[in-house]
Symmetry: C2
Subunit: 400 residues, 2 copies
Amino acid sequence: MLTQFYDDLETRTENERKKAISKVLPVQIKNLQSLGGLKGIDSDMIDSVEALKQLPVLRKSELREMQQKKPPFGGLVRGTIEHIFQSPGPIYEPGKDTHDWWRFGRFLHACGVGRSDIVQNCFSYHLTPAGMMFENGAKAVGATILPAGTGQTELQVQAAFDVGASVYAGTPDYLNTILEKSSEMGLKLSYSKAVVSGGALFPSLRESYLARGINCLQCYGTADLGCIAYESSEQDGMIVEEGVLLEIVTPGTGNPVKEGEVGEILVTTLNSDYPLVRFATGDMSAFIGGHSACGRTNVRIKGWMGRADQTTKVKGMFVRPEQVAELVNRHPEVSKARVVVSRVNESDSMVVRLEVSGSSNQEYHESVQNIFRIKGEVEVVPTDKLPKDGLVIEDLRSYD
Amino acid sequence: MLTQFYDDLETRTENERKKAISKVLPVQIKNLQSLGGLKGIDSDMIDSVEALKQLPVLRKSELREMQQKKPPFGGLVRGTIEHIFQSPGPIYEPGKDTHDWWRFGRFLHACGVGRSDIVQNCFSYHLTPAGMMFENGAKAVGATILPAGTGQTELQVQAAFDVGASVYAGTPDYLNTILEKSSEMGLKLSYSKAVVSGGALFPSLRESYLARGINCLQCYGTADLGCIAYESSEQDGMIVEEGVLLEIVTPGTGNPVKEGEVGEILVTTLNSDYPLVRFATGDMSAFIGGHSACGRTNVRIKGWMGRADQTTKVKGMFVRPEQVAELVNRHPEVSKARVVVSRVNESDSMVVRLEVSGSSNQEYHESVQNIFRIKGEVEVVPTDKLPKDGLVIEDLRSYD
C-alpha cells in the first residue's frame, strides 16, 4: 500500500518551505562559488527564490561555451559522477545513480508507482539521459524495470504481455503506438498507469488512455536538470519538485513576470553535485495561484507552453529576445516590448510595440536601428496593454 | 595505478579453488532446491565440478517452457531483482545492479580499465541485457560511463571526441565503424582500450586496432549468465570467471568431452540470486591445458568455436543432437556417433558413423530408423577415430 505522499517535504507550509530554502540555497550558492562561479556574491544574502533575481541567468549557449572550454561539464560538477550524456548541441550532462538523483521518484510515487509495479521504460538510454532518469526514479520507488527504449515495437508488446508490465514510461504518443500494435497482435496488455514526458500530452489522448484503463500523468523535466514539475492524480497543474526552485521570467531577461503571466522557466537546483543556478530552460510556462487539491503545497505551473527561444530572421538578420531586452533596458520609461514580424508585399516587416509611460518616438527608432541593425516601425501602447503570452518576438509569417 | 589482479580469487592454487567450490557449490544446489529444482539430490554430494555431471543439463528450450509456465523467470529467481530483459525466443533474463552482479568488472580490470577511464558503452541497453552488463562492470571498476548504445555513429564520434572517451565497449566490428567515421569527420579519438564481446574478433581486426594504439581484449558471456570467461593481456586463451563453473560436454548430452576436445559449454553460476546449474549455452569451445602466463590460475578455454545446436533437417525431418545421444545410449558398445548429412543426386543423404567395440550392423539400422524416422547408412569405425571437433551432426550440404 502506497502512502499518499513521497515524503514530508511535499506538505510543508509556505513558511516551512521558505525557512528550508533560506538554509539550503546559500549553501548551494557556495557550492557553485567553490567551482569559481558567482564571484563577489555574498551567498548568505541569496536565501530565497526572490533573492535569486540578483543573480545572472545561465543560458544553454553559455553552458555550451563553458563545456567547450573545460570539457565535458564546464567545471560545474562537484565530486565524481557515473554517467556522461549527450544532448543535441552537442551539450553534455552528468548523471549519478544514487537514490532518486534525477528526482523522478517523486513523480512516479504521485502516479501510484511502487514496489509491485513493472515499469516498461520506453525512454532511450542511448546518449540522452531520459532513459536513465526514469530508471533512477523507478528504482527510487522500488519498481522493477523493463529497459525497453524506443522502437522494436513488436518485441516491446510481446515483452509487456509476457512479463505483465503494469506501467508505461515514455513519450505521450509512443504508448498509443504500442497499444495499436498490441491490438494487431491480439495481445491484451496490463498497463494501469502511464508516466509520460518529453512532449505535449493532448487531453483527447489522455482520455483515450483512461478509456483503456490506463491512468496517465505527465511531468516536466529537462536533460540538464532532471524532474522539475509533475502532475498528481488531481491533474490540476504541475507541482514544482521539492529539489528545485523555479522562476518564470520575461524571455531574454532575468526579470520575473507578473503572477500568472507566461514566461521562460528558470530553474535553480538544490543538487550539490551539479549546482545550476537560474538555468534558462528555454521553455515557457506560467504559475498557477493556490495549491493542488491533492494536498501538496508547493507552487504549481501550467504545462509546457512552447519554446522561449523566439529568435527569428528578419530581412536576413537575426532578431533575438536578448535584443528586445536590451531595447527595454535602454529606456527607463519602457516597461515591456514586443517585436511583431510579418510579411508585407512579399517583404519582411518588423513592428516594435512598446509599453511606455511618456517620451517621444524618435529615439526609439534610433535604438531599434542600433540594436536590431534593421529598420522597424515603432508603436507605443499604454502600460499593461501588450499581450501576456510570454512572447517578445511574434512571428506572423506563414511558412507553409 | 591499477593493481595486477582484481582480487585474491584469481591467483588461488588449484586446491584452494577446489576447497572453495566444495563449500559454495552445495549451497548453490540448495538455493536451486529451495526453488523446487533438483529434487531428491543430496546437495552435500555436489561439491566439485566433477560431481556436477550427475545432474541434469538445463537447456534454453526448457528454460523457455519454465518461463511460459511461471512468468517471467520460471520461478528461478530468489529475492528481488531490478531489471527484466528480453532476448530472442523470447526468453527473459533477470538483472540486478549490485556490485559487479554480471561479473564483467573482472574482465574490465584485466584490460586495465579503472577509475580514470571514460567507457563508451556501445552495447544496447534496450531489451537486451548487454548494455547494462557492461554498465555494471564499468561501475565495479569505478569508470565513468557514456551510455551510447548502437547506431547514431556520427553523434557517438562527436561524443567520444568531446568527452575524451578512453575505452570502447561493444561488439568487435562496431569499433571499426566508429573509427572510420571519425576519420571522415577529421576527429582524432583517444581510445586506448577496447573491451569487446558478442561476436568473433578476427586477429587481423585486433591488429588493426593495435596499430591505432587501441589494446583490444575480448570476453565470452551470455544474456542468461553474464561474463563466463575473459582474456587477459597475455591473450593466451579465455580464463574462466571465478563466479562460474564451466564444463565442456558432448552436444546433446551432459557428458564431459575428453580434455582438449571441442564440445558444448555448460555453465553453473555461483550467483545465489539466479541459480542456474549446468545451463547449456549452445556455444562450443574447448579447454586449454595449463594456466595463463599472466598469473591467473583458473582453467582456460579457447574462444567461441561456433554453435552447438547442430539441429538440421534431412529429407524434411529434424535431426537433433539429442537423437544422436539417444542412439549412443541405446548401445553400450557404441562410444560416440556422428551424423554426416550430404547431398547425393539432388537428394539428402545421411550417414551415421559409430565408434564401436564389436557387434553387428543390423541393429544399428533399426535404431537409426526408429530414432531418426528416416533411413541412413551406417558406418562403423574403431574407437577414437571420429574427429574431435565437437560436431555430432555434420552438414556438408552447400546452401549458397
